[in-house]
Point group: C3
Chain length 370, copies 3
């Protein structure tokens, strides 16, 4: 089993949950399904029953009822440890922007998984949690100071501009005056979710200015996102304006626009692509499409797992399975040598992430044991 | 052979036709091909020769000439019965919006196919055939009354807004005043095809208001449609405005935007996806992509067959073949149990349609014999 | 090995080049990769090592270092001849719009490849190289005369409007007055690259007016192109305005919008699709998607090779391999007869190009020897 570095994931729930909540956590839906439909009747549901049931001591393809009964019997803590260990992840880069007391903290996650845990700082959340007395004139400097404080031990920064305004952010860095005006409007409106493209642009440029890789949500997600505005090709002017010496930008997920993302990764030296949530959902059907245009040194793995430890295991297992299958196909028609196939698997599973995200001094959790 | 319910199709021609007309009816083109090109040199053409030739007593892959000679020898009526019976369809939901005296009526279709025939009411056609004395002030109420009369025995309503304005219809229900103004303009212009987004929006909201499933043409079709305006993701604001308790909306065909449609079906409880015309044309190459994001309980089968009984058989055969192949692939790498694979095939082929479209009292034709 | 006609390619470099230049010529990138990334770690890089190494006397999958050492040892001229001969191309249609003294001329290319060489005239370049004394009032007539002079022995004309304004060019032919105004602005601005949609529209209509096939760059390319503006479906209004009796329009490359292109080729009699650069990069993963909607008589092969003779061989080898694999898949599930599979391979590899581009009297190079 290849060592994997999970370049983008979220925290897991530190409590038991009922069937309805479990089902919903397996999809990007947030509402109950209509009568007669189960969210577990899906590629993710099948994958949970195939990969996670054995990790909890059941036969593969155990029924959803049997699986959930077994999970309840073990309790969330034991189930979480069994599932995370089975995922075989050496390192987790956790987007801490989705926070909640019900979620397991970094130390707990490191203990349960046996993996090193590092932080990915969500830029919009830093801005949205600035001190209550922040004024428009001081917004930029206060944000800069807060961000500097947060990134000391972080592996990357991240933006969810795709969820807010979409990826058609202004190409050029917004002027201080424009930022102040936009901050005024945001403060006046009550400091809610930032959706103004000028403020989002400011936050993105500040993120790139940290020198850390910038992870950019692109493609599908939950329904609060307008799918057509999440096409990474909409960010082409912004990516072009950054210039080739900019900090790396990692396009996450990308589906159904992953082929657009592959092209961006081919022609812009600072652009990378992470298969993320896409492989968890679509598996071996889609992974090959990531390998069409992107250089292999630009492809990254992550699970985007959230709430359920099952999603770490499903993401890792589907990725390993899909990558193995892709490389076997290439081998079968003599497109690649055995040695190169192994090298490519190692690059995409961990090597590229190591080169890109480096090693942090402040990482939480046990040292890697592999 | 699994029982299939054809959730969206059209009437067949009740007369013989020459080679040029046959060729054109096999494509979405309406103009003759350039010299040297045959529309039968296509996936659909190959499928006709493979699946339909045996149904007419010829070897598979008989030449187009032999096939058309045999068809002429049998005459349209015998050929139609042989092809429709071979399709093995239990129920046909017929969009009656494309009407013509040259087409076989519901009773004839039921007799020829041995299937139960039910109606899908095309909303725009109801509006466009209102009594000649309908005025702008009375448009909404006259339309409502006409629609109420038409849907009594219908299985679903349907909109071709994609062909008229595109799917970027207004999210919110148009106001009575806006509808009246738009109706005035439409009447002044001579009551032609409705292309005004306000009137189309009104008609869509009225359709959803019937409580019947609303079928929405999305994706490719003939050249009177602007492809880029047929992306179902353009309808996201409208779908979101309907709310989760709305009548179901079925996105038909979807190609090449079927991955967008799958996402909509995952995150909106009331949204479903029908493979329709896409599988007839692209078969096993595309069917797997419908299974990436959509829950299996949200996927439906239809042929979108029109004019040629061959297209019923090709649609059904390609769907069965592609689904069998997809599930065999999943089985081969242990992604699904045998029992689940069978259950999924039954759901998508007929079970979901039965749940969604229910059973009509006024259906035309023999009761199901399977 | 099937005879292939390469319907769209460029000139090769007539000198040796270092590793960095070689790597960059294997991608659409024009900037060096970031540290740790090699552009040869890509599908194209693997294909060079697989297909080109044996043509230069090395084992398949030789390392990039070994390959480049062997290439340097042979020298560019011997390597070019070996690679081009191995590509087995009967005819090359060369876009002469990318010209440079460092590139091999037509006679040299014909001698090295053993193929007949014919010209594809790039419309924008004809306009941009009009005599220095051309005024706005005379722009249209001077351009018409220059174009008439250039096309006498040409096989096709070509437009790179996708790189300039994008494919959303005006549907209707621009009026003489609009063209003169646009020419004035262009002259005033110093006669640089033409990006004005009116001038591009004029040039396109003039191209179609020659009666020669018009090749249209669509889809991906280098980063000077905005990907979203290169969707061939953006050109639907222009294609529709041309009418079915227009000269043929060939949509080149198309990826990631190749499914849109296939639809255009199905519903517009004068529209064709060329797999071009897409198959060189994405090979057997994407070729099947070109065969979904386009009639087989509308599909064409080209390599879009430029600078490196390797790209001719990779394009031809990946195309042959992918097409063989696709047809074998169809055979394996009995979708096509053996005879039809062979006929389709011949059509797409050469027959359609012969019909479309005809035979030129002024072709340069040896007569075909097959």
């Amino acid at each position: 089993m290849e060592v994997l570095i999970d370049g983008h994931c979220h925290r897991v729930l530190a409590r038991d949950l009922d069937r309805a909540a479990f089902e919903t956590a397996c999809t990007e839906a947030d509402l109950p399904p209509p009568p007669g439909v189960s969210y577990l009747d899906s590629r993710v549901g099948l994958a949970v029953r195939r990969w996670c049931a054995p990790a909890l001591g059941l036969p593969a393809h155990a029924s959803a009822d049997d699986y959930l009964a077994r999970r309840a019997e073990l309790g969330w803590r034991a189930a979480t440890e069994a599932l995370l260990r089975a995922a075989g992840l050496a390192e987790l880069l956790v987007d801490t922007g989705l926070d909640d007391p019900a979620l397991l903290g970094d130390a707990g996650l490191a203990a349960a998984s046996g993996a090193r845990v590092r932080e990915v700082v969500r830029l919009e959340r830093v801005a949205e949690t600035l001190p209550a007395d922040t004024g428009a004139a001081g917004f930029a400097t206060t944000f800069a100071a807060a961000l500097a404080g947060r990134i000391r031990t972080a592996a990357a920064v991240k933006s969810v501009a795709a969820y807010r305004h979409g990826l058609a952010v202004p190409a050029e860095r917004p002027t201080p005056r424009a930022v102040q005006r936009a901050a005024e409007a945001w403060l006046r409106a009550g400091r809610g979710r930032i959706t103004d493209p000028v403020l989002l642009g400011h936050v993105l440029w500040a993120g790139v200015g940290t020198g850390l890789p910038l992870q950019l949500h692109t493609g599908f997600g939950d329904r609060s996102l307008a799918l057509r505005r999440a096409d990474p090709a909409l960010a082409q002017p912004f990516l072009a304006a950054l210039g080739p010496r900019a900090a790396p930008v990692v396009l996450l997920h990308c589906y159904p626009y992953h082929r657009n993302a592959g092209w961006l990764a081919q022609v812009y030296p600072h652009v990378y692509v992470d298969v993320g949530l896409t492989v968890t959902h679509a598996g071996d059907a889609v992974l090959p499409e990531f390998f069409e245009l992107a250089p292999f040194g630009k492809l990254l793995f992550s699970t985007d797992a959230y709430l359920l430890p099952e999603l770490y295991l499903v993401g890792a297992a589907r990725f390993r399975h899909a990558l193995r299958r892709l490389l076997d196909t290439w081998r079968a028609d003599d497109s690649v040598s055995v040695a190169d196939a192994e090298r490519i698997a190692t690059l995409v599973g961990a090597g590229n992430a190591r080169r890109l995200y480096g090693r942090s001094v402040g990482a939480c959790g046990p040292t890697r044991r592999r």
